[in-house]
Amino acid sequence: MSTNHTSADHTNNTRREKLRISDLHAFYGESHILHGIDLSIGQGELVTLLGRNGAGRSTTLKAIMNMVGRRSGSIVINGTETINMAAHKIAHLGMGFCPEERGIFSSLNVEENLMLPPAVRSDGVSVDEIYEMFPNLYERRFSQGTRLSGGEQQMLALARILRTGANILLLDEITEGLAPVIVQKLAEVLMQLKARGLTILLVEQNFRFAAPIADRHYVMEHGHIVEEVHAHELIEKTELLNTYLGV
Amino acid sequence: MKISKLSIVLLGVALVAPFVMYPVLLMKILCFALFASAFNLLLGFVGLLSFGHAIFLGTGGYVTGYLVMNSGLSPLLGILAGTAAAAALGAVYGKLSVKREGIYFAMVTLALAQLMFFVFLQAPFTGGENGLQGIPRGFLFGFIDLSDNLNMYYFVLAIFLFGFWVINRTIHSPFGQVLKAIRENEPRATSLGYNVNDYKWAAFVISAALSGLAGSTKTLVFQLASLTDVHWHMSGEVVLMTLVGGMGTIFGPLVGAAAIVGLQNFLSGGELGNYVHIIMGLIFIVCVLAFRSGIVGEIQKIVKRNFS
């Protein structure tokens, strides 16, 4: 087995590697969605997955959490191989996952939703801090989770995993449906988290949101990673990104 | 078209069958095939599992039996009356139940049927546990003697074909298109301006009426109307027939009815009679676990896989 990936080497030199994926394949029933993904993220990095609708970005996140039908290859989290690990054990390695469809529970109220995921580490964001960050949630804390507006649900989904103390975050389209003010605020929040040393893998459609805060970008197409772009290369590779993403 | 060729072959078989097999058994199969097809109209094509459908079968039977016996109605009028009664009950029960969906709908229909079961058990005109016995088959159009099994058979076959035609036509009608749309995406159908509950209700009434038709006919065949036909076990049996045959397919309920009635007939004769409930239960389990498309559904899959 070769570990001779340039990107991995590059990051290994600078920071501790938190997540390394090699030759990841994922399937939903008969359909083969991911065709050998390789990527690596170091501690404190914020990396995005870009691509068009259906490129397989969400699937990559779900595959990491073992939420797809079948997967093969290697996923090493914090030095632990997880490809054969049961889904419910993965979170306890410090993973926090915020799904695309938000996954707010209608049988629980806002506060119960917030308190639901078991803490995986001790140093999560406190509830007070969260309510300060998202005053809407505080105001609506006793209403049924799914009665929140679309955007409020998005906030809740994110807040929920911040509370658990997860230090590797997988965030899927978190700016979707949010008002521009909130989007700006989220960018600040992510920068703060990064500063706390959290590792973030971000799936984004909103390139303007992602560009200023990310360290690196992976571009996906048809279940492959077709390009890796570092923050400092953004200007020179604008053309390339345009052809991939149609920005 | 393939289907119509198949239909002609089946019709041919149905015409000569009574010379080969015991006609009363064949009539029973036809009645249940009609019942299961009517049930399947709801389950397979609207997605509503009515767990109390026997009540419509039995209502048709009781009303026909009572009128033929006590008011000397001709068999045809008796059957019409029974069908109308089932449709009327279906109209009321449909109004109450189509508001609910999925499993809720199943529970509500079951409980409503049980309510009516007790009415039939206690009402003075149904003969309670005895049921209505010795109902005369009478004369069709005043001169065809239905007490002759062969005459009766062709009469039943004609009724079955009529009912089956109605169901098919319903599925492939403008109304059927709307039903399909509702099953696919109910909120969207509403937003296009369809009152989905009205459509479900109409389908429910059609299904109830045809179940009543099956029950009325069955009553004349066996000259008997009894609690068996309104008991929830019967509601379970029709689900089983549809499941075994293949829900949502045209011929599935027919095949399922033949299979289950045939099996019961086989079991009731022999030593295995004791095991009839256990065997039915096991079939249920096996079908659900491994065989959800039913006989016809599985055949369709094989045909699709190999020939297209």
């Binding site: 049988s107 | 499993i103 049980q114 007790f118 095991y275 249920f284 659900v288 676990l289």
Partner: protein, 295 residues
């Protein structure tokens, strides 16, 4: 004295109390159903058969192993719960992703098999189980003679019902359960072993029916069809209470027992149908049930 407006008050009180006793069984059974439904979205049609199984196990345990009522009260629910766990694991889980109607049909099949099996093995004339020594005799109330065992039924089932309700509505475990049924994949991703939780919940719901079966053995004849008719009444109760509402199931169970008792007093002919009539009325006025949330 005991007459008021031409009504025999003693008779009325008696019927109310008897209604409460029956209501305790309704509450236990509908609670089990509501837990399984509310948390797993499965209608367990086998719940009645499992109640029967509980009673039979208590009977067999006493007959052949000399296990006392008290021991049976613990052991039988455990055994039944274990069977429920096996049932969930090997029958229900394989179809967990299919339409929930299939699980209804599957459990219907299980009910037929269980009932058929016991009829085959033990006939259907019924076995009798003695009332435990500790509860022989009764209390003389002014309006009736209340057998001690019947009083115990009310107390025991109230304790079990309230305890269960508290556990599900008021604890973190309950929140996990509710969330886990809504979106199991996400709960797994949060680090919770959902399949295990589902299995245990099913086992618990089933064990409640087993418990009710043991409770019933001394007062009702232990027979293979003791559960099947009761079950449909309990279904109606669950619909009235609002499907999936735990508290609703308990309150409605007790309430319907009392309504039935009153009907037996005022118009016995309708005692079979009154619960279904109530159901129709509730459906007309509040389709989601008395305690149900609108979808």
């Amino acid at each position: 004295m005991a007459e008021f407006l031409g009504i025999n008050l003693f008779g009325l009180f008696g019927q109310l109390l008897v209604g409460l006793i029956n209501g305790s069984f309704y509450a236990l059974l509908s609670l089990g159903l509501a837990i399984i439904f509310g948390l797993l979205k499965i209608i367990n049609f086998a719940q009645g058969a499992i109640y029967m199984l509980g009673a039979f196990l208590a009977y067999l345990a006493l007959q052949y192993l000399g296990i006392s009522y008290w021991a049976a009260l613990i052991v039988v629910p455990l055994v039944v719960g274990l069977l429920g766990i096996l049932m969930e694991r090997f029958l229900i889980r394989p179809i967990a992703n299919e339409d929930h109607l299939y699980s209804l049909l599957l459990t219907f099949g299980v009910a037929l098999v269980l009932q058929g099996l016991f009829t085959h093995l033990f006939g259907s004339s019924g076995m009798s189980y003695p009332i435990p020594e500790a509860f022989s005799g009764g209390i003389k109330l002014p309006f009736m003679y209340l057998p001690n065992y019947r009083a115990w039924i009310v107390v025991a089932s109230l304790v079990v019902c309230v305890g269960t309700w508290w556990m599900i509505e008021k604890t973190k475990l309950g929140a996990y359960l509710r969330a886990g049924t809504e979106n199991p994949a996400l709960m797994q991703a949060f680090g919770i072993n959902v399949p295990l939780m589902v299995t245990l919940t099913f086992g618990f719901g089933v064990a409640l029916a087993g418990f009710a079966g043991v409770m019933a053995a001394p007062v009702y004849s232990v027979s293979p069809d003791m559960g099947s008719n009761l079950l449909i009444v309990v279904f109606a109760i669950v619909v009235i209470g609002g499907m999936g509402s735990i508290g609703g199931a308990i309150i409605t169970g007790l309430g319907m027992g009392i309504v039935e008792g009153l009907t037996k007093y005022f118009y016995p002919e309708a005692s079979n149908t009154v619960i279904f009539l109530v159901m129709v009325i509730v459906l007309l006025i509040k389709p989601a049930g008395l305690f149900g949330k609108e979808a």
